[in-house]
Symmetry: D2
Subunit: 421 residues, 4 copies
C-alpha cells in the first residue's frame, strides 16, 4: 500500500476508494431487506426452531422446515430480494460490492436470511464462478437452478492429508481418459455437502504433476450423485456437526465426469480462485460485521440487566472498556470492509486483493474476540444453546481458516508492503 | 502479596512455599499413575470410543461402556490408584495438595483417567466437603459410596435468573417446615446431573432473606430422585450437550428433604464454599496444565508434519514463536499452580486463597489461548472431532466461569494487593 | 452508536458520514503541502539540526534556527500554506475537518511541518477557541498574532496534586477582586511554555466552589509575563525535556489579570472544553497516522536491509506478520479518523464527540504498538537518536494522556453504547 | 522441554529443579542486603541526586558524587556485601545462582545498589568471564581491580552496520601482526564506556574470515586508553544519553593490543558467549523482577491516592484487574527466573540455556507492560522525572535487545521444543 494510495482528491481515480456511501438506488433495497428480515425471516426462524424440536433424524430437515423456508424464499423472490451478491451482472441485482456490503452486514445478523434471499455461501461463490467462466451448457445445467434457489452446491478444496492453506498442495487427481476426467482423492470440510438439496460441487483437483507450478491445478464440476462420490461422514466444528447441511468428509474413487465439466480450462484452477475468492472472502467479512454487532448487542443487554457486587455488570470492572473497545473495533472493521468492497468495484478483484486480504486477516480474528467477550459477560449461559453466541463463535472462528487462514493473508499483505519500498 | 512473602529463607515458615518438590513418598505413585494411564486407561478409552460409535440413545451409555470403565476402576482401586485428591485425610491417599498437583497434571491429559481413579470433578469437591463437615450419617449415606466410586454427584450453584458470579445473588429458597426443608427455584449448568449414576446434589440455597449478608445462604444435600426435582434438559457447551453426563437445567418445585440434610448448619453456606472452592479451583488448574501440554504436543506434531510454501508449518511465519510462547506460559503456569498448591499445604486454604485466585484467574485464560493456537495450526481439521482440541477448548473455556469467573478472581487478587499498601 | 447510524443511503443525512473523499478544491492544497514539505521543510529541518549541534544553552534556540524557521514560515504564508486547521472560518483556509485530516496526516510525518504552516498544537486549539468565543479585544490582542505566527501559546489544564483526567478536579483558583482575577495554584506539563516565543496561556481555573457541578470552572487568558507566574522547571517525557519548548511546571502566586480576560464567561469553562477538545483531539489522531506511517516505513526498510540467520529480518520469524498487522491497523485507524473528521463536519463537534472519542481512545494506543515494533526490529539502534522512533514513541505515548486519557474516552464510548440499548 | 522434565520426585536429579528455596546460609545475607539498601544506599542515593542538581558538565560526575559512592562501597565491602554474583567461586561470595536471584531482585529495586555492592552489569559478566577463562596475568591486571571495585569495564558486541542479533555477523576485524592484534571496526551502544572509571573492554571480534562457521570469532581485551580507540559519542536511549556512564559509539582504527590479550584462544569467542550470557541474562531478569515490583508499587499507591469520577483510580474501570494481572505476572515471572537460576545451579549453564532463554524472552516484555500501565495510571506525571517509571521503562525496554533480542530467545526455545518431538 503506498502511502499515496489513500487520500487522493477528485482528479485521481483512486479517490473514489474513499467514497464509501451506498448508492442512492440501493438504499431502498437495504431498507426493504431490513424490513423483510424483521417481518418475514425472523418469525419464520422462530417457527423453524419450533419445528426442529424433537426431530430425531438429524440428517434430514424436520417436517415442515423446508416448506416454510420455501415460502419465505418465494416471498423474497417475489419482492425482488434475491441474488444481490452478483456485482455488475445481468443475472443478479447488479449491485456493486459496496452496496452489497451494507446488505450483507444485515444478512449476517440472521442465521437464515442469507439463504432466504439466495445469498448463502458457498452458493454465492459458486454462482459467481459459473456466471463468469461457465459455458452456456454449464450455466443452463447448474447456474440457473442455483440462481433460482432450487438446488444448493458445495466447494471442495480442503484435503485431509496435506496443508491446503498452500493451494499448490492440493493432491486429489483428475486424469483425462477417453473424454472423461477420472478423479481420485479425499476432501474434508465440504460445507453444505450433507444437505439433501446439494447437487453439485466445484472441486479443486490436480490435473498435472510436473507443469509450471501455478498451472498444475484445475477446477471441475462434480455432481453429488456421481458414482464413486462417497460421503464418509460429517466433520464437526467444536462438537457440532451442523446437521443436516454438515461439513462433509468426501472420498472420491474413480469418479468419472465428462471432459466438458472442467471450468475455464485445464490448469486454470488458480485463475478461478482469484475470481472466486475475492468476493467470497469479502462476503464472509461483511456478514461477520453483522455477527459482531449481534454479539455486542448481547453483551450490552446482559451487562445492563444483571447485577453483581452492587452494580450492573456493564459497569463492573473492565466491562465498560471492553464494550467500548468492541464498538471501536466494529466501526474500524466496518470501514475496512467497505473500503475493500469499494476497491473491488473500482480497481477490480485482482488489484483489490490486498484490501481483501487485509479485511480477511483482521475481521474474523477481531470478531472472535468480541464474541468471546460477549460469552464471558453471560457466564456459562453464554456458551449454551439459549444464546446465539456459541454458534456465532464457531462460525466466525471457522472463518479464520476458510478461504485461506489468517496467516496466509498476513503473508500476502506483508509481502505487498515489502514490495512497496 | 507483600514483596516479602516470597523469597524467605530457612528461618521463615514462608520459605517452604518455594519448595515445590513432590515428596519422595509420592513419586512412585506418580510413576504408577503414568504407567497405569498408558497401559490401562488409554486402551480402555480407545475401546470406549469404539463402543460409543453408532450408539443412538445419547442419554444412556453405550452397552459395554460402563462395564469396561468399571473394570478399569476396579483395577485402579486394587492397585491403590484411588482417591488421591483428599489431602491430609484418612479416607484418601493422604497426599498433599502439591503431590496431588503433579498427579492431576497427568490426569488432565486423558479424558477418562480422573474418573477411573475416582478423582473427577465435581465428586472430588463434594467428597472433600462431606469429609470435612458431614455428619456421620451424611458420610455413611453419601460419602462412602462416592469414595467407593459407586455413585456420582453434582454441585448446584448457578442459576438462570441472577448473576451467581456474586454468590450472594443465589435465590433458590429453602424454607424449614415441619422438620423438612422445602426447596423452590431453578439451577443451570449442573454438570454431571444427567449421568444415570448421579444420585446426589450439594446445592447452594437461600435460607434467610434479611440476615447478616454473609449468613443468608446454606448448602444442602438433595438426592436426585427427590419428588419435585425435575431435569428440564441439558445445557449445551459450544453446541455439545456432553451427553450422557450433561450439564443439566434443573427445576425444583416444593422439593422436600429432611432438616438433617443441611451441611454444617443454616447460614453457613459460604463457609463451605471457602472449604470447597480452594481445592476445586486448584484441581481444575492442575488438570488444565495437562490439557495445555496436550495442545502444545498437537501443535508441534502438526507443525512438524505439514508443509506449506516450502517449509514445515512449525517454521513458517510466527509459528515457532507461538510454540515458544506456549512452552513459556505452560512452565510459568505450572510453577504458579504448584506454588498455590504448596501454599494450601503450608498456610491452609484460607490463607492461600490469593494464590489460588491468581492461578484460577490466569491458567484457564492462558490455556485457552494455547489450545486456540493449536487449533489454528491444524486448519479446519483442528476444530473437528478427529483431534481432542475442540473438546479441550470447550472444557477449558468453561473453566473461565466455573467456580468463579476470571473477573471475580482478579477482583480478589487486586483488592488484596491494594490492601497491602 | 446505533447500528443504523452507519450504512444509510442517499436520503439520509447520516449517509454523508461515509463519503470520506477529500474535496476537489482541497486536493491541490494537499499536493502543494507534500511538495512544500519535500522541497522546503525537509531541507530546513536538516539545516536546523546542524545548527543545533553543540548548542549549549538548551533553553534558547541555537543561533540561526529561528531565522531559517521564519524564512520557511514566510514562504509558507506567501504560498498560502497557512492556518489550514480552522474549519468553516474566514480567518483560516476554510478547510473542512475531513480535508484538513488528509493534510494533517502529512504534517505528522515531519517534526517541523506543522509549525512552519502555523498548524501546531496547542496554538491550533487556542486559536480555534479565540476565534469562536473571543471578544474583539481578545482577538485583536492574541488571536491575530497567533494567526500571523508571531507568537506562540500554551494551554494550562493539568495539575500536580489532583487527577485532572476528571476535569472537575481542577483546583487552581481564580477569585474576582476589584475588577481583577487573582489566580493561585500550580500547573504541570504546560507544553510549549518554555519557548521564548510563548506569550499567552489559556488556563482552566476554578471560579466557584459550591455551584452547580459543571459550572464551577472557567477558562481565562494569562499572559506569560504577568507578575506571579513562575516557571518552576521543565517536566521530562521519558528523560527528554524537549528544550527549549518544554513542558513546564508553573506556579501561580497572586497572579492578577483583568476581569475581561475571562473567555466566554464565568463558569463556562467546560463549554469551551467541548469546543476545543474535539478538534484538538482529532488533529492529534490525524498527525499520529502520519507518525505510524513513518514507523512502518522504518520497520520495512530496516527489515529489508538487514540479514540474520540467512534471511532478511523482514522475513524472519513473525516479522512479516507484524508488518502486515501494522499496515492493517494503519488503514483501519486512518478510516476511523477520517470518519470522525467527517462526523464533525456533518454533525457538529458535539454530536460527533463519540466518533472523536473512539479515534482518540484507539489511535495513539495502536500507533504506540507499531512504533514499538519498529524499534524492536532495529535492535538497540531503534532507541537511539539516529532514528526518529524514540521521539515518535514518546510523542504518541504522551497522547494517551493528553486531552483525556484513553480510559476516559473508553468510558465515554462505553456509556454511549449502553445508552443506545 | 520434555513433559517429564518437571514433576520428578525424590529419586530423580531433575527434581531438585523444583526446590526453589534460598539456602539457609544465604538468608541472613538477603536480610543484610535489604537493611543495607534501606539504611545506607537509599540515603546516599538521595544525596547523590542533590549533588547532581545543577551540575553542568554532564560527562563528568558532579563533585562529591563519586566520594559518597565510594564511602558506601567501602562500607558494603567491609560488611561483606560484595561480589555476590559469582557462583561457586572462591573470589566471590560463593552464592548459588538461586541464592543470588533473591538478592538481585532486591538490587533491582534501587538504581545504585548493584554498583555499591559491586554487582553491576556489565562488570559482573566481565568478571565472570575473566574468572573462568582468564590467564593469571589477565586476572591480575583486570579481574583484581574489578573485584575490588576500583575500575569499571565495558562489553563491546553490537555494531552499527550489521544485525548482531546474529552474532556471526560481527565484522570488527582483528588481525595478528607481529605479535599484536590489529583491530578495525565500529561498535555501538557500549554501555558504561563513557564512565571516567571505565578502563577495559571485552570485545567480540572477527579473527578469521573463512573458517568453520562457529570458529571465526574471538573475544579480546581492549584497554580504553589504547591509541586508535575513539569514542565517537553517546547513543541515546529514548532521548536520554545516560551521561556520564553512557552507551558509547566507539570507532577502532588500527588499534593494537598484545597477542596475549585474547581470551581463551582464537576462534573461541562463542564459547565465551555461552559462558557469559547465561548468568548475564538471568541477572538482568532477576533485577527486572525487582523493577516490576517497584512499578506495581507505584501503580497501587497512585491508584489509591488519586480520585476521579468519585472513585479512587485503583477501583475505576479496568484498573483493579490491571493491578491483579500485574501481580500474577510478577509471581509467575519470579518463579520462572528462580527456576532458571536453579537449573543453572543443577544442570550447568549449557544444559540450563533453554530455561534461561525462556526467562529472557518473557520477563522484560512482561515487565515493560507492567511499567507502561503504571505510567498510564499516573497520567503525564508518570512520564516525568518525578517518578522512576520512565527510567525503569527505558531500562527494561532496552533489555528486550540486550544479550539477544526476544525473537532470538523465542527461536531457541521453539527449536528445542520441536526437537523434543
Amino acid at each position: 500500500m503506498s502511502n499515496d494510495q489513500d487520500g487522493m482528491g477528485g482528479a485521481d481515480p483512486q479517490d473514489q476508494l474513499n467514497d464509501l456511501r451506498m448508492s442512492e438506488k440501493a438504499l431502498p433495497l437495504l431498507n426493504h431487506v431490513k424490513q423483510f428480515i424483521r417481518d418475514t425471516v425472523d418469525p419464520m426462524h422462530e417457527e423453524w426452531l419450533t419445528l426442529g424440536e424433537g426431530h430425531e433424524d438429524r440428517w434430514t430437515y424436520a417436517p415442515g422446515q423446508l416448506e416454510i423456508l420455501q415460502t419465505a424464499k418465494d416471498k423474497a423472490k417475489e419482492e425482488g430480494l434475491w441474488n444481490f451478491f452478483l456485482p455488475d451482472s445481468e443475472t443478479g441485482e447488479g449491485l456493486s460490492n459496496l452496496d452489497y456490503a451494507f446488505i450483507a452486514i444485515e444478512l449476517g445478523k440472521s442465521p437464515l436470511a442469507s439463504q432466504v434471499m439466495n445469498c448463502s455461501a458457498p452458493d454465492t461463490g459458486n454462482m459467481e464462478v459459473l456466471e463468469r467462466v461457465g459455458t452456456p451448457e454449464q450455466k443452463e445445467k447448474w447456474l440457473q437452478p442455483l440462481l433460482d434457489g432450487e438446488i444448493r452446491s458445495a466447494y471442495a478444496m480442503t484435503e485431509p492429508d496435506v496443508a491446503t492453506s498452500d493451494a499448490k498442495n492440493v493432491s486429489t487427481s483428475a486424469v483425462l481418459e477417453n473424454g472423461e476426467w477420472v478423479i481420485n482423492g479425499e476432501k474434508h470440510y465440504i460445507s453444505g455437502a450433507g444437505d439433501p438439496r446439494c447437487k453439485i460441487m466445484i472441486m479443486m483437483v490436480k490435473t498435472n504433476d510436473d507443469g509450471e507450478r501455478g498451472r498444475n491445478h484445475s477446477q471441475i464440476l462434480v455432481p453429488m450423485d456421481t458414482p464413486g462420490v462417497e460421503v464418509v461422514g460429517p466433520m464437526h466444528v467444536f462438537g457440532d456437526d451442523h446437521a443436516p447441511a454438515g461439513h462433509m468428509h468426501i472420498r472420491l474413487t474413480d469418479v468419472r465426469v465428462p471432459e466438458s465439466n472442467i471450468l475455464l480450462g485445464e490448469g486454470r484452477g488458480f485463475e478461478i480462485s482469484q475470481l472466486r475468492l475475492g468476493p467470497g472472502r469479502i462476503h464472509h467479512c461483511m456478514r461477520t460485521i453483522g455477527k459482531a454487532e449481534v454479539a455486542l448487542d448481547y453483551m450490552v443487554k446482559r451487562g445492563n440487566s444483571r447485577t453483581a457486587f452492587g452494580q450492573p455488570l456493564s459497569k463492573l470492572g473492565g466491562n465498560l472498556e471492553k464494550i467500548s473497545r468492541a464498538r471501536i473495533e466494529i466501526e474500524s472493521m466496518r470501514l475496512l470492509v467497505l473500503k475493500a468492497a469499494k476497491a473491488m468495484d473500482v480497481l477490480g478483484n485482482k488489484e483489490a486483493r490486498i484490501w481483501v486480504s487485509m479485511a480477511k486477516a483482521a475481521v474474523p480474528e477481531k470478531a472472535c474476540k468480541i464474541i468471546d467477550q460477549a460469552i464471558q459477560i453471560h457466564g456459562a449461559y453464554g456458551m449454551s444453546q439459549f444464546t446465539p453466541l456459541p454458534d456465532l463463535y464457531a462460525d466466525v472462528r471457522h472463518l479464520r481458516f476458510a478461504d485461506g487462514p489468517d496467516e496466509v493473508h498476513h503473508m500476502v499483505v506483508g509481502r505487498h508492503e515489502l514490495a512497496q519500498h
